[in-house]
Amino acid sequence: MSLLKNLSAAKKNIIYNYKRYLCFFVMLFLIQTLFASVLVLYSNNNSNELEYLEEKYNYHLQLQNLNDEQFYYLLNAEQGEVPFFEVIKGTQTNISGTNSYRYDIYIKFITSDVKSGYESYKAKYYPVVEEEGDFKELLTPLYTYESELALNTFICALTCLFIFVCGCVIIYLLDSIMVNHYKFLYGIYMTFGASFKKLFKTAFSEMFVLSATAFLPSQLITNIACFFILRGSAQSFRVDVLSIFLSFLLCVSVAALPVFFNIKSVSKKTPLNLIGAVDNANLIISPRTSADIMDYVFPGKLEVLSVMRFRKYGIKLVASAVSFAALFLCCAYLGISYSETLDVKRPEYTIRFSSNMTKEDEKNDEDGADMNDGSSFMGPIDDIFENGDENETEPEQKPTYDFTYTDEVRDYFYTFDGVEKIIKDCHTDAIDINSHIKLPKGKAKLFGGAENENGERCYNNVKFTALDSEVKDIIEYYGYEVEGDLDKVINDGAYVAITYGYGNMSKFKLSIGDKIYIATGSTQNKSAQYISNDYSYIMGVLLESYDYTYTEYTVGAIIKDMPVGEEFPVYMNGDTYAAVTGNDMLFTDVDIIIDSDITDETYASLERDLRHAADYYTNMVIQNNDYKTLIQIEKNKNYLNVYMFVAAVLLSVSPLLWFFSQILFYLKRRSEFDMYFSFGASKSKIKKAFIIDGIVFCIFAAVVYTLLAIIMSMLLTVFLNSQLYSASTLVKFEYSLPAIPYVIGLFVTCVSAFFSSYVPYMTYIKSCHPIFTGNSFDGKQEIISEGEKGI
């Protein structure tokens, strides 16, 4: 009953003082809209993702290259009373050039928890299947959906937390502005018995009513916006009741928490303190500054001085309002960066060749055998199976080859439809061969690596990487900026190419022609023991335990904007690579980047082609990274629009703070302007005073916004560069102030700063006594003169 009474009283109070609460309503509406957007999108994205995955893969596990025994064992597996998997389909493919067949089987776990189904399979069937021979096991994104779901939930929770914190800060700012303005009221209430509990109950009821009032419009707008966002990427949309309810609950919490702290701080003060605080004293650092006003001309210098007088208020206002404009910029920048990461070329397939190839074997490959040898499935139960290939052909008798990646293989792979680029790699980790590079003193920045006794920095997080013209072509394909000449490195073994640093951070101060030293030999002088995985720590231990001999190399090229993880490459030609690592330049790792607009048919055909190639080259293992699917799922979520929506909401807070704060501030200064009028100031002078305030705020806000925008986007770039590589998204962001968001933020800031001063002037003049403004007299004169004209 008491709650209902409070709510009813709060409702009346809000309706009566709607102007005072309008700002809170708008803010709570925005906060609730944000919460609802995140939650509704989260729930819709999850269900859409699941739908997409189920449509694409109706199985969790694919077992490839099974032999007859393995295949039939799984097909006829006795699962007991409660089965935990079912075989969705199977394919049979003839191994090129042989009479043998290989089988693929597609399994769907039918337990409520997919993971437990997989574990049961692992425990019961895997050991038997493994015993029967080699095969390959691939878990599909449908299986990893649940772990992805956990990650999505975490990100959603993190986003909600961010909105929660931002919301609390905004409501706290607004509420403290209001509490500050209505201290007298609180003082009177407390004089006559109001306790913290009472005040909070009242304030909370008001916030609850405001949140409830904002509920319908915010949910409506959110659901409509989400509908269009999802429709933009051809996704389906469902109304999620739980998200709607949760967003309301979160909004109420955001409203309650800051009010709790504000009321707590008010209730700690004595009523007298609050009753007496109705002047501007709480806004001024030192009222004594005002003593100089008589020396100044009104409004010019005097109003500038007034801005100085109220500098505590001004700084608070500009800092809080401008930070939201800067947050808008950051959010927009994040959105742009995020969409950039989706456009990064990722290898859809990774192929690994074992390196026991011989040139003779290669020569034996006479005719570039027909890889499209077809496949088919048959047998007693073929009604539940699909064919591996519709174009069935008779198996040919062909030898198998133990092979590695060569130019011929590359050219052959390029004949497959859908292949855009083949990326080959041959590298040796320095740490594996107890090697490292050493930079001369002054050529390394602080942090990272370990310093030897001569003050030279040594790094063992190096990948000695072979460079030939094809690798150079790959570097050019990615468009990395190269300083120096890579050809020199390819042609002259005394030269190497290096990156700017690692971890996407600039670590070296090298220039072309500088010398670097590679440890090519070592003598142990004491035992080296370490338990850490940290490169720098291990390097330090090794430097103490070994004496190294170094070979000098010249920096022939520096690769500037290449994304680099924790390990960085040092490129060298084949001979140098062999000399440094002791290994031949064999390209055992090959990534295949596919066309971005590849059709499903071409994709399937490419996979078939690669599988046939793998049949042919027995030491070739293909890994499908499923990036196409994963990126498509990400794109379906349309996060760029979500970021932009959040950014727009953050930006809208800025004018809200400007106007709310300034209107209340000038209300307090009304009597001051009345006095100016009383002592002879004209309307135009008063107007000028407000305009001066507006201009000063505008300039101040623009400068602060620009500084904040530069600093925050710089920090964001550093953060993204340092964090994204660890999230295995090898992207490097170059810092640049995002022009359009910056200009929008600047425009909104300047306009808000100026008009939040000018609008109170218009309100003041409207409600000012006509004896000061002469408004009504002017009007009368106008009518009389019109009348006279008529006569």
Partner: protein, 254 residues
């Protein structure tokens, strides 16, 4: 049951003004019996309003204690003190301090709302107050639509609506003309008798103070008994004051 309705011991209240410390209330003590009318007189700036605010629990002293009906209000938490003030104390300010956006009636009812009083507990009392204060035809008016005297009557009604045991009045007639001041004072005394409460009033008007059971005089932060029920103590006051003013002032406290 406490012997005194109000007992204040060694109250010190100081304010920091720029680099110096002003002692507004300097080791003041007083005792007020149940139903007494006590006036505190003194020149402007002598510290009498500050003392009254401390006695009414509107401000906190740096040192000393205030007991009301045996309860130490200086040791109370702000919340408990708020509830205590609402239920047991009434305050009338010199500047009325009515809430401008509330009507006269709403202003009067503020303490009942703050203390969650049920309607039936104060309806009768409200009628009596309205009748006694003659503000029945002004109840729906905003404070800005009332005269100074009417505003002060509304403020008195507000202070008395919860039937407080002690009523504090800070120069309640200070902003009124003589006729209005006399009216308000006689109303206050009438209501005091009607409700049977203790009245502590700050005034600089000797003609009003004369009506009190006890008069305390405040000078430069020090408090002296000027008159009690037996009569005036001018001689002893002068001696006491001389001695007190010559004594050491309270040192700045933390």
């Amino acid at each position: 049951m406490a012997k005194y309705m109000l007992e204040a011991n060694d109250i010190i209240r100081q304010f920091k003004q720029y680099d110096s410390v002003v002692t507004a209330v300097d080791r003041c003590s007083l005792k007020v019996e149940d139903g007494e009318f006590v006036a505190i007189i003194g020149a402007s700036g002598s510290g009498k309003s500050t003392l009254l605010h401390i006695l009414a629990g509107l401000d906190r002293p740096q040192s000393g204690s205030v007991y009301i009906r045996g309860t130490n209000i200086t040791a109370m938490s702000p919340d408990n003190l708020g509830v205590f003030r609402g239920n047991y104390l009434g305050i009338v300010f010199q500047k009325h301090n009515l809430i401008p956006q509330l009507t006269a009636l709403e202003n009067i009812l503020v303490p009942t709302v703050m203390c969650d009083k049920k309607d039936h507990t104060f309806q009768e009392h409200l009628k009596k107050l309205i009748l006694a204060l003659q503000i029945g035809n002004r109840l729906s008016h905003l404070p800005s639509e009332l005269s100074g005297g009417q505003q002060q009557r509304v403020a008195i009604a507000r202070a008395l609506i919860n039937r407080p045991q002690v009523l504090f009045a800070d120069e309640p007639t200070g902003n009124l003309d003589r006729r209005n001041a006399d009216e308000v004072l006689s109303l206050l005394l009438e209501l005091k008798t009607m409700i049977g409460q203790t009245l502590i009033m700050v005034t600089h008007d000797m003609s009003i103070a004369d009506k009190a059971d006890k008069i305390y005089m405040m000078d430069n932060g020090k408090l002296f008994l000027y008159k009690d029920k037996q009569g005036y103590y001018k001689t002893s006051y002068e001696l006491e004051m001389k001695a007190a003013l010559e004594s050491e002032r309270a040192k700045p406290l933390e």
